[in-house]
């Protein structure tokens, strides 16, 4: 710390001001005063200060001039013009006022509307707003803002002088306002209305049923971009929609998107790219898990410092319920900012979520390697630049708002305190009792001399004086701005000397009385600094990352992903799914593909695997799965526009469990809550990759349909959603396809216009629902339809025939055996359960012979799981086709390998062991249809994503990691219970936890 012994002017105001302004520097001019005019210039010169500059340097001994709530000048040793009151800040530091870029300060919450008692709320509000209530672009924070004294003071105590206030409710949330935190009224506090436009993926208090899923939120955003563009191009408008007007009006503002996790950040950034929008991303503090991918978005981030509380792990039984992810997050969340800084990702920091732990956590982040300058930038220049308000806030520069804080030390130093917070030229004193006169002093009393150590506890007046004359003695001290009173034991009998005095020079002097009552002169002269026990070197010592980030960030994650291998698997029983059937032979794999299948192969530079006594099969493909998805069902009758690709959770543990069961790929389907579901994601189980890595490139596009009890909401007596009968279900399809045809014609007409004509014609509205339906009719998208009873199966084939396309696959299809001949004729495949039945009325006559019967009638049959557990035993489910209906073993295995590949149009590269196909292979310990078979290794394109031996070492690693982190937590919490008050919170008077 810079030595500071000079008497400090600001302290003179202590008695007058406790966290309140003297007067308003600039009152609202058109308001009528209740009294005589009290207009003041508020002109101050702050001198001899260390003034922080935007480049991270300090002007040492600098001067800051402010007037009328603005900064006039910042420089070293400027001549102070007349009309300025000088405040000497020797030894103090001045920083720009901090900006919290993400708050709901002063914005009233919306109350959730009452729904109408039905299971679905299908319609928006009665007002002329958007068709979806979660689109609230017409909301302007500036029109709802009212100062909140309590919150304002809390922000000020943290050092903030301005905040961005928004209403965090809805998918499109309207605009935010920049609001200063002085005592003025709303007219004065709102500095800039409509600073940024805000979005999220959470519909908030909207009671409208749609969207009911994450992919529905993405779809709604996408459609609204299109609608707004279409709407604005029409004069007169086709209807009144204040929301769409506002949507367009505020597109030029910074667009701030709040996401729940890093995967949403990546997905929403891609959505922004579709419309040439670069969002600022308000993240949740987990970006460190894939910082390089976050960086690639090009987004500026808003980062919280709300670190998770330590999970409860004291009890060994309940500790078991804490996931490894939560343990690791507890450990690494405080390193988030450092990792982002290392990646040079620009970010602001918000106190939201951390609140009173803000400074403690920010200092932790700095200790953990966040450079101090970047921490300060993240609260000043970066948010200002992000909001396009650099000239106004975030730095100490002429004409900027006079928003700044005065600190006792460098802002992020261990014991630094924010002494004052000036907002638009108004002064708020945060630490009125701060005294910096600590040090070593020589005390001369009469002719005796002592050494005294004067120290302060967190700047508070309560201080301790230690007498050093060989032994230490406690000294009673009463210290104020103007007076000092000292008493201490001066002789063997315990008699005390009592001294009183006043400040003089770098110390004090005065008179006192010895124990015998004699009047003495005394003097206290500063002779040196205290030895600091924490020092600054402690701050500079950067904590090491306690553990590396693993991919995925969960149990069974790896620090580095497994590598592709060239392999020669010798002597296994190979289930080729080709003409040669099942043979004992060798399989050579190169560059992720099957290179050769044949006897006595040899090759150089390959990993040899002895397959003797084992079985090698193509990887299992699950045609119907819902693992690894953030959401399953969107609720509207036709949600063809939603994309399951946008909600793939690449970190889901069931992906690894699937690999352990020999599963290499799956179609991740929308649920069956509506007749027309959503677009499928077809993935390979590339455990450790991002969602984008998992998607199979170039795979055909599919969509989920559904029929029967689920879509007519049989188990929801209060449902009002059309359809409620199988009759209505047919009409949903006929209607959707008819509309799609009409939509196609409309666009064809428009597209056939000349360029000139197009310029004078409003383009038809793009409708993502109809576009998707049209893709089906155009053969660009294929249908997998959930189905149970024969009537509905027959119906859907008729609908498809009448619109001249084919149903690609019926899934579940449990009464497929009753219409298998019709299915074969139509060309539909069947992807069914081996033996599920009895859970609904419509599966009462589901029989385990279904697969065998459909196959007998010529249908391509797959066996699927629809279940995260069963999917890892699909080989056993295939065996049931042998048990029930005598399907040959080779055909049974095809039902979980080649046949699902055919149904997914992937059989040109997957599903069999043939030269040129992907090396997606499973080595089994036993006959693959046997209950006793265990997958030993599962390769995807020659990469061993699962290996039983490696699995064993991962288990040990998990056990060690859990033990290590749990003992770190228990260490921490036992230390915490002894000395909870160690944490100094700058400016903070309350430290609630």
């Amino acid at each position: 710390m810079v030595s500071q012994i000079k008497k400090c002017v600001p302290a003179a105001y202590t008695a007058l001001l406790i966290s309140a302004a003297v007067s308003s520097a600039f009152a609202q001019e058109n308001a009528t005063p209740n009294g005589v005019n009290d207009e003041r210039a508020g002109a101050y010169a702050f001198t001899n200060a260390n003034i922080y500059q935007a480049d991270g340097a300090f002007i040492s001994g600098g001067t800051l001039l402010i007037r009328d709530g603005r900064i006039v000048e910042v420089d070293d040793n400027v001549a102070i013009p007349e009309g300025y009151f000088e405040i000497d800040l020797s030894g103090r530091f001045i920083y720009p006022g901090l900006i919290d870029i993400y708050t709901d300060y002063g914005i009233p919450e919306l109350q959730r509307e009452d729904d109408n008692g039905a299971a679905e709320n299908l319609y928006p509000s009665d007002q002329a707003f958007n068709v979806n209530d979660a689109i609230r672009t017409n909301f302007r924070a500036s029109t709802a803002f009212a100062p909140d004294e309590e919150k304002r003071e809390k922000f000020r105590e943290l050092g903030f002088s301005s905040v961005l206030s928004l209403r965090p409710d809805g998918i499109a949330r309207g605009t935010s306002a920049l609001i200063t935190l002085g005592d003025g009224n709303a007219n004065e506090a709102i500095v800039v209305p409509d600073v940024a436009a805000h979005y999220s993926l959470d519909k908030g208090t909207s009671s409208q049923s749609m969207p009911s899923s994450l992919m529905g939120a993405f779809a709604l955003l996408r459609q609204t971009y299109l609608d707004a563009d279409w709407f604005v191009n029409q004069q007169p408008r086709p209807f009144t929609d204040d929301t769409l007007e506002a949507w367009n009006r505020y597109q030029s503002l910074p667009q701030i998107m709040e996401v729940g996790n890093w995967q949403e950040a990546l997905t929403v950034d891609r959505l922004g790219d579709e419309f040439a929008i670069q969002y600022v991303l308000k993240t949740s503090g987990d970006s460190y898990r894939h910082a390089e991918l976050i960086k690639a978005t090009g987004a500026t981030l808003i980062v919280p410092v709300d670190f998770p509380e330590a999970p409860e792990v004291e009890d060994t039984l309940t500790a078991d319920d804490v996931s490894l992810e939560d343990l690791k997050h507890w450990e690494l969340a405080p390193f988030n900012a450092r990792i982002l800084a290392e990646q040079e990702i620009p970010f602001s920091i918000t106190s939201s979520g951390a609140e009173s732990d803000f400074w403690k956590n920010l200092r932790t982040a700095v200790k953990n390697g966040l450079p101090q300058r970047m921490a300060i930038d993240a609260l000043t220049t970066v948010p200002a630049a992000t909001l396009g308000l650099s000239g106004l806030v975030g730095q100490l520069a002429p004409s900027a708002l006079a928003n700044f804080i005065i600190t006792s030390d460098q802002l992020l130093a261990e014991d630094s305190l924010i002494l004052e917070n000036w907002i638009q030229g108004q002064r708020y004193i945060l630490n009125p009792d701060y005294d910096s006169r600590e040090g070593i002093y020589q005390l001369a009393v009469g002719d005796q001399s002592f050494e005294l150590e004067l120290s302060f506890d967190a700047g508070k007046a309560s201080a301790e004086l230690v007498l050093l004359d060989g032994e230490s003695r406690r000294v009673n001290l009463d210290l104020s701005e103007d007076l000092i009173s000292i008493s201490f034991v001066i002789d063997e009998e315990g008699n005390r000397a009592r001294l009183s005095g006043w400040p003089e020079g770098s110390g004090w002097r005065g008179n006192g009385r010895t124990p015998d009552g004699a009047l003495v002169d005394w003097q206290l002269v500063r002779s040196g600094n205290l030895e600091s026990d924490t020092g600054t070197e402690g701050v500079n010592e950067i904590a090491a990352l306690p553990a590396p980030v693993v991919y995925p960030f969960s149990a069974y994650g790896r620090q580095t992903l497994p590598q592709q291998q060239d392999l020669l698997i010798r002597g296994a029983t190979v289930w080729t799914n080709e003409e040669q059937g099942m043979v004992v032979t060798d399989v050579l794999v190169r560059d992720g593909r099957i290179d050769e299948v044949g006897d006595n192969l040899s090759a150089n530079g390959v990993t040899l695997i002895d397959g003797t006594g084992k079985h090698l099969t193509p990887g299992i493909i699950d045609e119907h799965s819902h693992i690894g998805l953030f959401s399953i069902n969107e609720g509207q009758t036709n949600s063809s526009m939603v994309r399951m690709k946008e909600v793939v959770d690449s970190e889901n543990i069931n992906i690894y469990r699937n690999l352990a069961g020999g599963v290499v790929a799956a179609q991740l389907l929308h649920g069956s809550a509506n007749p027309i579901g959503g677009q499928s994601a077809i993935i390979k189980m590339r455990w450790g990759g991002s969602a984008q890595d998992l998607l199979i490139e170039g795979a055909d596009e599919f969509i989920k349909f559904a029929l029967g009890e689920n879509v007519k909401r049989s188990r929801s007596p209060t449902s009002i959603r059309y359809p409620q009968t199988r009759m209505g279900v047919e009409q949903v399809f006929v209607n959707a396809f008819s509309q799609a045809q009409e939509y196609g014609r409309t666009w064809d007409e428009y597209n056939s216009l000349s360029r000139n004509q197009q310029r004078n014609t409003v383009a038809p509205r793009r409708d993502l629902v109809k576009e998707t339906m049209l893709e089906i009719l155009n053969g660009e998208r294929f249908v997998t339809s959930h189905s149970y009873v024969q009537s509905e199966i027959n119906m859907l084939m008729h609908v498809a025939d009448s619109f001249d396309f084919n149903i690609n696959t019926f899934t579940h299809i449990l009464e497929g055996y009753k219409v298998a001949d019709k299915m074969a004729q139509h060309g539909a495949g069947g992807s069914t359960f081996a033996d599920w039945w009895g859970y609904k009325w419509e599966v009462r006559y589901a029989i385990p012979y279904n697969a065998a019967l459909m196959q007998q009638a010529g249908v391509v049959v797959a066996l699927n799981s629809d279940d995260a557990e069963m999917s890892r035993r699909l080989n056993q489910e295939a065996a049931k086709a042998v048990k029930y209906g005598n399907v040959s073993e080779i055909d049974a295995l095809k039902m979980v390998t080649l046949n699902p590949a055919i149904l997914l149009h992937l059989d040109d590269r997957m599903g069999s062991i043939r030269e040129g196909k992907d090396a997606d292979l499973v080595l089994w310990s036993d006959h693959p249809l046997s209950v006793y078979a265990v997958a030993e290794t599962t390769w995807i394109e020659g990469i061993p994503y699962y290996d039983r031996e490696e699995d064993n070492s991962l288990r040990q690693l998990i056990a060690r990691e859990r033990a290590r982190i749990i003992s770190a937590i228990t260490r921490d919490s036992s230390a915490g219970s002894e000395g909870d008050n160690d944490d100094s919170v700058a400016g903070g008077r309350e430290d609630r936890r």
Binding site: A820, G838, I847, M870, Y884
Partner: protein, 435 residues
């Protein structure tokens, strides 16, 4: 009289003869003559196997089991030579809803859960529907005996063990009102956090209240003199005098400990733990308490992300290896999966258990736990001739083909609705192909 029946005449469930039948099979007639199954691989159910064996039974009871050539009397027996195929004791399905529930989602078919937390007095015995279409599908896989239990609440009622063939519940009963079922409340529950949208584990705020309900029930039942008339208190009596078992349904470690300590505290002697997902975490407690486990979670996911991928598969082995008596259950809540009981045992055998031990977990051990081992569970002289013949290993879906089955010597019809529908459409498509 010596008949040598080739397999073509042996019970062929999917015989070429399609006949119009009642939807559920007709209950079988009493055994009319002594029967000898010869040329059999006999799985006794207690861990032993006879590779070339003979088993005879008469008037519903097993009369001899042994090696071929051991001098077993075959006089006057109808001899069935199964040529190296397998004979097993009928599987015993614990904690099932057979006959109480037909279609999960149709409330009218659901007789599983009575209203209220405390239902000590209700009895599954009289609600069991012998004509349920679910039952033949279970028999088809060799499940010939089942405990039928009410579910839910805190005290669900009492269960009864049934033979899976009979004209009515009286007829089908094997052991009546064998025990009461207690579902111990959870310490925690999974709840969706409305703020984050994520599921998280939160404390069950009702835990104290729910356990208090149980305490007061057990206290009042212990003190109950018979007056005033209280059916629930009356129904609790068999617990305290050792006549009835207490089936404690609990999965998580703390709940297992609390529930068993609770029951012991009220002097309940005969306790069975049902569920037991976390049983291995408290194995020493279970051993010290001498409580057997019906483990129901084999074809389930590990409860926690970090656990071994194969935790559910290998838990029966781990418990058995620790010295705990383990039976394997089917999981009462999903009626369509109970028929896979043998394959649960097969999976357990793939992960540590030897096959005959795994078999005993769905035969003898379950019979012992249910208190019916004097009648079923092994192929031993004097026990009921409740057994079946399989083409191959009946714990492996690849080889399990139940060719014939007997319940107390009665030759039961394995063809249920599912087989009838199969035949109907198989023939339809076969005829189409011919044309």
């Amino acid at each position: 009289m010596k008949k040598l029946l080739g397999l073509s005449l042996l019970i062929i469930p999917l015989g070429l003869f399609s006949v119009v039948r009642a939807i559920v099979p007709v209950p079988a007639a009493d055994q009319s003559e002594p029967i000898a199954i010869i040329g059999a691989v006999i799985h006794i159910g207690n861990g032993n196997v006879i590779t070339n064996g003979i088993i005879t039974f008469d008037e519903g009871l097993i009369t001899a089991v042994g090696e071929a050539g051991a001098g077993i009397n075959l006089t006057d027996h109808l001899q069935i030579d199964i040529q190296g195929r397998h004979v097993y004791p009928g599987f015993v399905l614990p904690n099932s809803t057979l006959g109480l529930l037909e279609v999960n989602s149709v409330r009218a078919t659901d007789d599983v859960l009575e209203e209220g937390d405390i239902n000590a007095s209700v009895r599954s015995a009289i609600a069991y529907n012998t004509d349920s279409e679910i039952i033949p599908a279970n028999r088809f896989n060799g499940i010939l005996t089942a405990q039928v239990a009410p579910q839910g609440g805190l005290i669900s009622g009492s269960s009864t063990v049934f033979k899976l063939d009979g004209w009515n519940w009286e007829d089908a009963m094997l052991a009546e009102d064998i025990g009461l079922h207690m579902h111990w409340p959870s310490y925690t529950q999974r709840e969706r956090n409305p703020e984050t949208g994520l599921f998280e584990t939160v404390d069950n705020e009702n835990y104290e209240g729910q356990t208090q309900l149980l305490h007061s029930l057990f206290q009042d039942a212990q003190a109950y003199s018979g007056q005033p008339l209280n059916l629930n208190l009356l129904a609790m009596r068999p617990l305290f005098n050792g006549i009835a078992k207490l089936f404690i349904h609990a999965d998580e470690a703390r709940e297992i400990i609390s529930a068993i300590r609770f029951a012991r505290g009220y002097g309940v002697q005969d306790i069975v733990l049902v569920g037991g997902a976390d049983a291995f975490a408290v194995k020493d407690f279970l051993l010290a308490q001498n409580v057997p486990v019906i483990y129901e979670r084999i074809h389930e996911l590990p409860l926690r992300d970090w656990q071994d991928v194969d935790t559910p598969f290998k838990t029966p082995f781990l418990l058995h290896d620790a010295g705990i008596k383990v039976g394997i259950g089917g999981g009462a809540t999903s009626i369509d999966r109970q028929r896979n009981l043998p394959f649960f045992a097969g999976t357990a055998a793939a992960y540590g258990l030897d096959r005959e031990t795994a078999l005993s977990m769905v035969t003898l051990t379950n019979a012992e736990i249910l208190g019916v081992a004097d009648r079923v569970g092994t192929l031993e002289v004097g026990k009921d001739a409740t057994l079946f013949i399989s083409e191959g290993d009946a714990l492996d879906m690849r080889t399990s083909q139940v060719l014939g089955a007997y319940i107390q010597g009665r030759d039961i019809d394995l063809n249920g609705t599912q087989q009838q529908l199969y035949e109907r459409f198989r023939d339809k498509y076969a005829n189409q192909l011919e044309r």
